[in-house]
């Protein structure tokens, strides 16, 4: 590889030297180096330095496309094609989950952890776990809230599992689809340096839902204040992961559209968590009210009848 570098340095002069000196990756392309920064907005890889966005992204885009071609070479009707989406080891999945729990400002989740190897294992099983966590925690919390009442008969509420599954899986697949479509449409109008594939967006959304699993379990605590604090914390963490991931993708665009996109992403996320809290978990205070309102009515009725 060093020999090729030397050859390229000697043949093409200053432009190539400046280009290759900025990155460690060696490119085998024989394209004109002056043209590459303009027409190859591939997915960026490597370190998180924002100023080297463009160069790193474009130099590695050749390698990325080569590797991507090598990886997904099987036709879509073979089993091997789908195996490429599950090509992750245990430590990689743990690293990605850790990355979704600890968003570091300036670090892009996709670039740092996914690195052109999006997997479907994480999104699918995190969503499955979340579905059952919400359904089971909701059931448990309702049971604990209504524990002392004589008229309450415990039911497992199994129907809510299918409702939860529909909501979570629809969110995890349809919102990335809409977002991807939107980004592709904006990309055709404004040249963006950073663009994500559909699977990478699904991956980010799937891993960002992980924080809701412990949140759902902690929602069993029947205190309204505790629940809302948990909502805020979870939203802050996963919302910031999503915002930091998608900000580079819309940064080049019209300021208002970029801001509107990020706000919509966070708003949808909040809608999901608040909606799940409202639907699956009974409010703890309302059930203490009926005995309180009953007694004044009884005293009024007693006063009227006497």
């Amino acid at each position: 590889m060093a020999a090729v570098d030397d050859l390229q340095f000697e043949e093409f002069g200053d432009a190539a030297t400046a280009l290759v000196a900025n990155t460690d990756a060696t490119t085998i392309s024989i394209e004109d180096p002056d043209e590459t920064p303009k027409h190859q907005p591939g997915p960026p890889r490597g370190s998180g330095r924002e100023e080297d966005d463009e160069l790193l992204g474009n130099d590695d885009s050749d390698k990325t496309e080569l590797l991507a071609g090598q990886k997904k070479s099987s036709p879509f009707w073979t089993f091997e094609y789908y195996q490429t989406f599950f090509d992750v080891d245990t430590y990689q999945v743990f690293d990605r989950i850790k990355g979704s729990l600890l968003p570091i400002p300036g670090k892009n989740f996709v670039r740092l952890y996914i690195r052109s190897n999006p997997d479907l294992y994480g999104p699918f099983w995190i969503c499955a776990t979340l579905v059952f966590a919400i359904a089971i925690s909701g059931n448990l919390s309702n049971f604990l809230i209504h524990l002392g009442e004589k008229t309450y008969h415990y039911v497992p509420e199994f129907r809510k599992v299918s409702i939860a599954a529909t909501i979570i899986y629809a969110y995890a697949w349809l919102v990335p689809l809409a977002l991807w479509g939107f980004l592709v449409w904006r990309n055709s109008k404004v040249m963006n340096i950073v663009s994500y594939s559909f699977l990478e967006i699904v991956c980010v959304y799937g891993y960002s839902l992980f924080i809701y699993i412990p949140t759902a379990i902690l929602w069993i605590i029947p205190q309204k204040a505790v629940r809302w604090i948990l909502v805020m914390i979870a939203l802050a963490i996963s919302g910031s992961v999503l915002a930091m991931t998608f900000w580079p993708a819309v940064r080049e665009d019209n300021r208002r559209i970029a801001l509107a996109t990020i706000v919509t992403i966070v708003l949808l996320h909040m809608l999901l968590s608040v909606g799940c809290l409202a639907y699956f978990f009974d409010a703890p205070e309302m059930d203490h009210l009926p005995p309180a309102t009953a007694t004044p009515n009884q005293t009024v009725a007693a006063a009227k009848s006497s």
């Binding site: 195996q83 599950f86 245990t90 099983w125 776990t129 497992p156 509420e157 129907r159």
Partner: protein, 236 residues
Amino acid sequence: MAEAAESPGDPGTTSPRPLFAGLSDISISQDIPIEGEITIPVRSRSRESDSSTLNESVRNTIMRDLKAVGKKFMHVLYPRKSNTLLRDWDLWGPLILCVTLALMLQRGSVDGEKDGGPQFAEVFVIVWFGAVTITLNSKLLGGNISFFQSLCVLGYCILPLTVAMLVCRLVLLADPGPVNFMVRLFVVIVMFVWSIVASTAFLADSQPPNRKALAVYPVFLFYFVISWMILTFTPQ
């Protein structure tokens, strides 16, 4: 005649020389039948046994299958590293277990409550689609176990949870209370751990070592959901 046929490359020799004296030993004699099918003796013996399983009594057939299922139940109850479940897989055992579990878990149709426990079809679908999903997951991660072997193992390892369901139903006949619940909780937890240990003993070897945890976690989730359904079962 036969000797002349046996020495075709012999130019111009009509009478057998001492050189070809051994040919008479291998010449075709008249009394071996050439027409009809030439069968290898082993093949004909197995064809005889095929027709004999057709002719055997129904009781024999059922008892043989039941014995195979029972042997696998024993392997699940005392899990050791053995290949029996994997080698001769069958889906009778999982079917029997799944139907028993679903029959016991379904809510009665007489109550008017809209929200209750699962229906028979819901339990059935959860068990079978859960097992298929776990199998697909383990194959996609690169495991070298076949589809039906994995279904077989996962189905058979529901046996401890079915036993837990029976015990829970018996315990529920007593008067309800916290003690009742504690007993059921303990039984379900023990059987849940037993199921996981049994299925991991069979399935863990089929995965590459750096992905074992990824393949085992869905099994954990699957048995956890079934245990939850058993624990929260309330008779109407």
